[in-house]
């Protein structure tokens, strides 16, 4: 499992480098009979595409996704779904200033340490473009989840020190920073402009929410719902932390403050609060699942930095070209994608948890 396969039943294998011929993903284990077409997937691909606003890189990526297998007459067939995006913009470039330098905050040094050399063109496998396969697979997982009444969305909770105070869901798709609070967006936009001017970058926090998940999803020891989500989301480049429900602030609370009382509402079990973030003992508890991921500021900045080269000499590096001054808004759909893949896989896994349900599935009476 050398790093590029995720999932147990719904299993995705992503591949591709920033400046190679193409990037893509193979999804093994998608159930048959799901309505999928390129348009549904493209919609999510477009959300991670830059260029719509001044806060994304100017590179024109195109990112037209094609379905190469696993779909027949508009429906998944149960066989692997191969999705591909060709790199249109492959003209040769001058990498002279980075091919021998280790960019601070980047994977360059690790790649050389691990593999002895690297595809230095545009970050190679560690480019943000790697996430296009994730977004594509996520669109498929999301289509599956939708049929089960499960919805996932994410949004920018904060940009640098500017946090949303208001929550207007409709506003999220209304501004290029994906913030549900117009006022916060405007302050953040100012911050971005100033960072852009300085050739600097800023970080932020994305919050993800999953609703409609039945209770009991997640396995009870290592494959806990939160543990699997943690791996899924932390595996996105630039993520430096994740928390669930009350998260780090739970460490400041008393048990009597942090425990969520159970009550009955309209004949059904509810929790009065949701400090658990919808997860207890590693299983969904029927409330909305809530998590937050911290993103570091884009490491590519145009301010001169100290670094070293492959010959182990110190040098100054100035990273040329336009880079995203913030990763967060483009990562929103990637967070959703990874959450969708993780949760749908656990829902499939969960189907084997009770013999009475397995018997019903195979038509073997009540017992």
């Amino acid at each position: 499992m050398s790093g590029s396969v995720f999932g147990n039943i719904f299993k995705i294998s992503t591949w591709g480098e920033s400046h190679g011929k193409a990037l893509g993903v193979v999804i093994d284990g998608c159930p048959a009979g799901v309505n999928i077409d390129e348009e549904i997937i493209q919609k999510d691909m477009d959300r991670r595409r830059p260029g719509a606003s001044k806060y994304g890189t100017k590179r024109s990526e195109g990112d037209k996704v094609q379905i190469l297998s696993g779909v027949f007459e508009g429906k998944t067939t149960g066989t692997p779904i191969s999705l591909i995006v060709f790199n249109e913009d492959q003209r040769s470039r001058d990498y002279g200033n980075i091919m021998n330098l280790y960019r601070p905050g980047h994977a360059d040094f690790g790649f050389d340490s691990k593999y002895g050399f690297r595809d230095y063109r545009g970050g190679g496998r560690s480019s943000g473009r790697e996430t296009s396969g994730r977004a594509a697979a996520g669109a498929v997982a999301r289509a599956c989840l939708k049929e089960l009444g499960v919805e996932i969305f994410a949004y920018t909770k904060s940009v640098g020190k500017i946090s949303c105070r208001d929550f207007d869901k409709a506003e999220i798709s209304n501004n290029p920073l994906c913030m549900p609070d117009r006022e916060a967006y405007e302050a953040a936009a100012e911050l971005m402009d100033s960072a852009l001017k300085q050739g600097d970058s800023v970080g932020g926090v994305i919050e993800g929410r999953i609703s409609g998940l039945p209770a009991g999803i997640g396995e009870t020891v290592f494959d806990k719902l939160d543990a699997v989500l943690a791996k899924a989301v932390v595996s996105i480049g630039a993520v430096k932390g994740i928390e669930f429900g009350s998260g780090f602030s739970a460490s400041l609370l008393k048990g009597s403050e942090n425990n969520d009382p159970f009550v009955i509402r309209e004949g059904r079990p509810k929790k009065l609060t949701n400090n658990s973030g919808g997860i207890l003992g590693g299983m969904s508890d029927g409330s909305e699942v809530v998590f937050r991921a911290a993103f570091k500021p884009t490491p590519s900045i145009s301010i001169p930095q100290r670094t070293i080269n492959r010959s182990m000499e110190e040098e100054e590096i100035v990273i040329k070209g336009r880079h995203d001054p913030i990763i967060v808004p483009r990562a929103v759909v990637v967070v959703e994608a990874m959450a969708a893949v993780a949760v749908f896989d656990l829902m499939l896994m969960n189907m084997g948890s009770r013999m009475d349900n397995i018997k019903k599935f195979y038509g073997k009476g009540e017992r």
Copy 2:
């Protein structure tokens, strides 16, 4: 992979319920030739044992670990290592007040939702006792890592709102809360006493550190070092979040502040700062790996709480008996254990990353 197996090559399977006959772990894929005996493992088991201080439950667990297989004449043989701890204290008890109630903050409701019923005795599989198998496996992983010059330790960074300001490593094992700062410990002890008196509980944060790790450990997409550590640590009951290096505060920084400049010191690559927490692009970068995990306050408190029963009626619950007013200090060794298992597995995985090294391994010339 229904939740109780972890790892790819060094693979652990834990098992056992709080009040069953025994608990244990089977380790598959441990290399041959490692010096292991019951004493080495017992040392770690004892660190998670309660009772040493007033901040642990009074239950006498014994926790005498036995090696049942995989070790011959003091050395691992390469075959599975089965480790077992018998439950000494198995007398039948009155579970009348919890067998039909869902304890707030506990897995009870999830278990019933998922499986239709549960072993309600002492939390069953979701008891803190489940971690004894983790600690035992961790001791073996740690022994392996030690031979490779890799060391892992963890400590209590904060208890409730009281954070360590000082760092005196020797102090960690000197106080029952595993804090490296005597003054902070004393304030925390006061906080604990007051929580105990109120029948309440408190949370906290554990910091883990891994030193001696060569650069390049971790796989570059889904099995990133931080992603795998995140899953490993978040899978510990009561963990609500994890962060690496500058973590959540990275989201507040500029790129120019968060990037760690590379320099050469004594002919070797170093970073001037360690905001990365020793991980770049999912691979170790040669610096110390640093992460922090947030633990919620123990959900078992003796203060009356609102809840519901299996018949979907509201009830008040009062949890009897003595419970840990804080999980954190006993979890320190468990955090170390999970980190050790995760890191050693990735080091084994990494051995296949370069053909020139594989050739050398199999005696096939320099190339």
Copy 3:
């Protein structure tokens, strides 16, 4: 996956050496609500126990299985089931004549090549006793399959050159060689007596049959039903081959002879013949699954043999003590066990194959 874990959802981890303290298996992923007790498992354990007849080794193994976890009030809970058998007969022995020699036909040489040393006591991990964990796990898988109407049995098809011509199912448990043909058994018994007298051993073939399996079980490329069964069964020590349906003789046939015509009988699809052995394209086809496994003669014989020692010198070896002159009858239950584990795991995996069924499972209407 260093060799001792099998399965994807119903996942077994076996452990233990022939002369260690104990042997056992941990089953992760067994559904909740299956009636299991030690008696059910013991029944299968007893079938692989020697000593009932003169064709088994005289060693008294006891093999009393204990359930240590995962079962509560007579039902599986969904958590890992730990099964253990303590080795009663552990007195120290004189291994002088084998600890430095490589027994022909045994794993000794491979162990030393791989691990640098080995637990030489009674074959260590490669002893036939290793199969006790398989038999125990198989009993649990079989109990699950029974609830789904799937039955598995195996029997001795041939001993040396003596093949069964008749098939009387009741006779199988009537003779110590598990043959369904009394006459063949009597001829085989004579062969065994003569082999015993010469200090030699004989091989044989076991046939396995699986009935009640719905069509469509097995995944279509690498995890084909036959491929997974092949791995499961060939992983049993001493198996040198496996075939399905018409098997090797299919290679001698024309397509028009080997294809099984489909017909309708009582309104349901049937095949007029079963050359496919119940498997087409890697999926069950609704007919009985039929396979045969070839077992080599027991390698431990008392006739002097040429071999080498750890110092790379030639030596003669005479293996002392009584050994099974044939492995086959004791392996019958092990073949059943591995088939049961493989098939039940594939049935669980199959539950995620169609979205309409997943929707029904999660109560999401017909569509």
Copy 4:
């Protein structure tokens, strides 16, 4: 693991349908630094291509493989290698006579049973074209093995009842049936001609051989070298059985006949015979690994056959078009490919088996 992913470290995911846009494979876990180009892979692709002789289907497949990722400046980079073959011949066809019928000996019935419907065009995922991804991945695995001195080749051992008696390695690539015996080839060619005339098909046996494998490869319980090879090879469509070394005939022998004596030759351990087929206790024993796979006759024949349709009515089916009258010669390279993938993965897995070697790998002294 729904069927289309194979391997633990060197992990392949194949995808694609016979008449979809393309087919391919993603290889995750290939080490960095292996010299690979499209030509090397194309060579193996061409060997499974039909059309060279009258014994292959006339369909022009093209099968020009492209490397889309994971290779940079002629060397693997350690990141996933995506290989693709576009289907050139995609014009729409009349599938009227098979879209509603279940072809005897084919996967059609299973597909409909499992998934509710199927891509009926040319067999969809269960077409022989599915093996193009296997052949491509095999070429990469073979290139890796070559650097380690391991070579794999396979050949047609028998066609129907005609077996090779002679073994002239050079002859294998000299005739379209890949037989190492000219005389046998000529007899087989006659048999093929007669089958062709009758619209019938024949089966056969392929033998595979692996040389240069160090002793100790393979894990000792479930991931035995023979068990993993069995899964790998039986997963190829049309394989009905596999045997190792003396195989099924071992069941007819005495222990004294089947055991291979160890001797010393030129200071190194050898076996006087190779009934073990190079595998003892699931590990390579230093001798050549030898196995045979039985292939059934091609199920597609033009002779009218009885079958049923999707409405559960009986019908006669006549399969039109030209089909391979024998699968065997085109499967030779696929057998080699699956063996290469299986063996290389086990060699990577084996690197973690001894702590002294791991220490050396990580530069931690001799001990």
